[in-house]
Amino acid sequence: MALRWTGRSKRFERDALPHLPAIYRMARQLVGTEAADDLVQETFLRAWKYFESFDSTTNCRAWLFHILRNVWISRWRKSHLELPLTETAEEQIEPYYDWEDEFLRDEMSEEIEHALSDLPADYRLTVLLADVEELTYEEIARVMECPIGTVMSRLNRGRKMLARLIRSYDQERGSSPKPETFMRRKS
């Protein structure tokens, strides 16, 4: 038993702990700076508890994101209201026809973060898993517990929504307070 635990702890240190920075930055995007530490700690405690069930042939980072999402849903999201996504609309992938002008510049981190926080949480999580963590659609689908088609539509709509929000904040920057948005912040 003891030897088994020792081997398990070594594997946990080798396979899971190196992903702490990735889990932290995602947690920060989901619940904000204040609560991120708690979310990360609870994620790793749960990961340790269920580490025996982790299939070492799969992506440990994706497995940790799945746990992070479950912890977030059970502990944080339930206490926040969010407008539900219309899944039927989600299934349609729209082309990028309204996306022709240049709007991205260097030093836009503030606008991007502001825009991310205004994305519906499932869109935000999907975009971050693809663009920041570079997970495959299949891995994202497992993390989000949804079909790959839903991943594709959330990515498509999420990126477009993100681009519009960034452009909008950039245009209004400096001349007025941050614009009112139709989404709730930090679910």
Partner: protein, 206 residues
Amino acid sequence: MMNCKNIREILDLYVDRELSPEATVQAETHLAECVECRNTVARLKRLGQAVKTAVSQYQPPTQLVDQVRRSTASRWRRATTWVPIAATILLLAVLALSAPQIRAAVAAELEVAAFHLDDARATVMEGKLLCRDCLLKDEYGYHAMCPTRGHHGSLETSDGKIWNILDGQASDELIHNPKLLGRTIRIHGRCFRRASSVEVDSYEVL
């Protein structure tokens, strides 16, 4: 052959490298010819990169890293408690062996184990030939019959153990010739540990 409408419907998959190799080739053929689509791809990639840059600038506080390590480290220490437990058991065993009764019991158990592991083994034994009865007389006051029946040669090995020499053609001299008493003897034969006896095939007087 892809056109602008087709490719813009699959831009995400192209940028995320999720297209099949065939579809990727078709997309790249179109992109090589279409500046507008190429620019759209570039913008989409730039958006992804900008998001990555904005989000990746944050690193977990050292305090958090320590807390996570500590909270799991306490479990690792619990997992390795077998080391102090083993050390305690060993210490208790050593202390227990200092008690004569326990030592005798352990010795008896070890002897039994040795019987099973080592009985009837072909061996070469070396030791001093002594009269067993005289030795027991000196040490324990045994009423030896040596003056009337003669001495009875036995082999004392360096560990202090006395081995009976079993009767046989090759062993007759060893048992009954008093001139050999006190000599160092090397016996080739078989050892019956359970009976503390040795069967002699041949021997040498050293």
